[in-house]
Symmetry: C2
Subunit: 148 residues, 2 copies
């Protein structure tokens, strides 16, 4: 069997590199971590700080500071949860939404381009595989539990 780790290392590195470059939108410079945060707020409905921090595997104090930055950048808004005022709900501003959507679109465009180098059959196989992989990883006991 070939070197499986190498395949994965190459793949994840390529995605990491991509993300690094694709986050300067409309005057706002967004870091890789910040784009991940925006993405999570984008796809969840008013998640709490803890929720997002845990999903991203970030230390909560680090996360707190990142959110402060994003609030200053006017991309994110914090509102206390009425039922439990310890909890902070996160949501995107109009601008934050725009930035998140733009990153999403760029990302999808890139993926489209990548897939354009494949046949229909291959494309479906790859997508099926990624799904399988995600499921299998979520079942693993080694580390990085499900988290979604």
């Amino acid at each position: 069997m070939e070197n499986v780790r190498e395949l994965f290392q190459t793949m994840t590195r390529r995605f990491g590199l991509l993300n690094k470059n694709c986050c300067q939108i409309g005057g706002k410079e967004v870091s890789l971590v910040q784009s991940h945060i925006l993405y999570e707020i984008f796809r969840n409905d008013k998640p709490s700080m803890q929720q997002v921090a845990e999903t991203l595997g970030m230390d909560i104090t680090t996360f707190s500071r990142q959110i402060q930055t994003l609030v200053k950048m006017e991309l994110v808004v914090k509102t206390p949860l009425p039922e439990d005022r310890r909890v902070t709900q996160l949501s995107l501003t109009t601008q934050g939404n725009y930035v998140a959507a733009k990153i999403d679109a760029d990302m999808n465009q890139y993926l489209d381009e990548v897939f354009s180098n494949m046949s229909e059959f291959e494309r479906e196989m790859v997508i099926k595989s990624i799904k399988l992989l995600n499921e299998a990883m979520s079942k693993s006991t080694v580390c990085c539990k499900p988290l979604i």
Copy 2:
């Protein structure tokens, strides 16, 4: 078509998380970036600074400082290339080799576990898909050129 980006985002995040946790070996604490550097030196034969930095998409000055750290940790050795003394060849010390090999083994063990949740057929499909994906990404013009 489903949300392809979401699949990829989840996948790469899971791998990122994994790497974060799997790098404390024999008294040495190795960061994610450092483990990537060790890996590249591990699998290439005496690569130059530039070579590795470019592969990892790192700024050369940042890379230079990381290498300084790894040299201090006695995991990496720098030797000037005789034919061109501007160039620095990188190699692993015995200890560096041990650390890199240990991370590699851990990583492979994790992947084995992940694959154990699949059938033989699925496993082959997934591996084939990752290969396809790497090829397709290397052909993309958007960003992050081949790099290997």
